[in-house]
Symmetry: C2
């Protein structure tokens, strides 16, 4: 596995790859890799000849009060995990390589309006603009055939898919199912922040999604009923502060009152000082796909 | 010359071009071609193996009160002119091809903040967002090595250059000097709107820029003095209503009070119901480049 930190070096290397007729996959991450990321890499390797994993904690997608400075980083460990997963190139740019004028001096942003303002966008107003912008940059640098994202970050997947469609970007976006701990907790680099009591409490997030699935399976279609049942489960645990629970149309994230054929049940909660998200997509008859933290800064 | 109206057909054709190792230039236009556009095409043909000219009157860059519906269109004449200029492919998508969900349902926009809000951005608030977004789409569809824009639309050039830099887009942006009538009037598809009295009046726009050049050549560095001399020339003609006269830094369009080494002197004026723009870039010692209407919807 090559570790490359310069944009120009990466482009030179990938030009050779392309000349040989090989296909390229990109897995954008913020590092501190876990099994969710590794699932993305393995899927990317199955589908393509060469896999590039980017590790970049993108300042543009963090709010001023958020955890940009303390976001966990361990490049040596990440490099070992990526190499073992079959990754060909680890792209590890410094901030000055991605934002040569400084990220504060970026003037150009890609914004997926409406989609970026709902759900997590309410408490993180510039987050998805930062995500869409850095992902557009990475797409232009790598020019991948396929790009892999974790379903845990459902809203991110929907924003990126719509950006690719609206801007005619030549890449296939692939969403990979969420990888979970034995008790259901979705893997996230931020789980490292949790104390043992908080970690214990955090399993209720999945339990509440599981209850929503059960209710939907039993025929319940009133979103308010489902949300209130989920709140009831989470209310048991004083360590959990709900940011939102949302039942929306996975196509455009519009809230649904009466659930039709498909629904994204998504939630965000503060557990201590850690903000976690999780979700499941429910489809009539087809059942449930529950969605790997990777890029959700 | 091939005329292609489908995105998929254009991509298929260009894939073959690229496999042969040929380079590709893109000249984005809104059609109703004039000598300014043709200068772009000839320059593109000198620099590259294959030239694609797009003709697309982009609804996204027109304000609600602007001339989108009546913007002049003549595809047959345009096709003859482009073929004679050596163009290889004329790309003529319908609106539904560029915006399959309808342009009103676009959620993703590329916005070059600050740069898009100055000069013409004041009276045309969403214009440069519409331009940057459609140019990003065309760049993704064509994947050109070089893209050619007229210096007449100075602000557009600066917005596109900055977008390409900020988003790591793989294209060389080339600005081509403005082509003018014998009396100095910059060529523009909108000149067709002018009555003969208005056409007569319109020559003063260039005269005022010429005076600014003279003053700068004589050592004047106070922007307010230059602007007031320009206003004095234009005030003679009651048919002219000035929108703005601006002396700015061509790097970031920030207004300059005391002119340093380089300045963009730019103006917009309403002549009857027609809005025209023009500009010149002045550089100390190096003299003046005066800047082809092409894409300035």
């Amino acid at each position: 596995m090559d570790i490359i930190s310069r944009v120009m070096d990466l482009k030179t290397s990938l030009k050779q790859t392309r000349l040989k007729g090989k296909t390229i996959a990109l897995v954008p991450t913020m590092g501190y890799l876990h099994d969710g990321h590794l699932a993305l890499m393995r899927q990317a390797k199955m589908d393509h000849d060469l896999v590039v994993v980017s590790i970049f904690v993108n300042p543009l997608q963090f709010g001023p009060q958020e955890d940009y400075q303390v976001y966990p980083r361990d490049l040596n460990r990440d490099a070992e995990l990526a190499a073992a997963a079959g990754v060909d190139i680890l792209f590890t740019p410094l901030v000055g390589e991605m934002y040569p004028r400084g990220h504060q001096n970026m003037l150009t942003f890609v914004d997926v309006h409406a989609l970026g303002e709902r759900l997590c966008g309410v408490s993180r107003p510039d987050h998805f603009r930062g995500v869409a912008t850095v992902v557009a940059k990475l797409f232009h640098i790598v020019e991948p055939d396929g790009a892999y994202f974790g379903q845990k970050d459902a809203q991110q997947v929907i924003v990126i898919e719509r950006m690719v469609e609206d801007l005619n970007i030549n890449v296939k976006v692939v969403a990979v199912p969420t990888v979970r701990e034995a008790d259901g907790l979705a893997l996230s680099s931020r789980n490292i922040y949790l104390s043992s009591a908080e970690r214990q409490a955090a399993q209720l997030l999945y339990k509440s999604l599981d209850l929503a699935k059960e209710k939907l399976g039993a025929g319940e279609r009133d979103a308010a009923v489902i949300v209130s049942e989920m709140r009831r489960i989470l209310a048991v645990e004083p360590l959990i502060k709900i940011d939102y629970i949302s039942v929306s149309d996975p196509a455009d994230l519009a809230e649904q009152k009466i659930i039709k054929k498909t629904a994204l049940v998504a939630l965000a909660a503060q557990i201590g000082r850690t903000r976690l998200i999780d979700n499941m997509i429910w489809r009539e008859s087809a059942g449930v796909n529950s969605g790997a933290d990777q890029f959700a800064g």
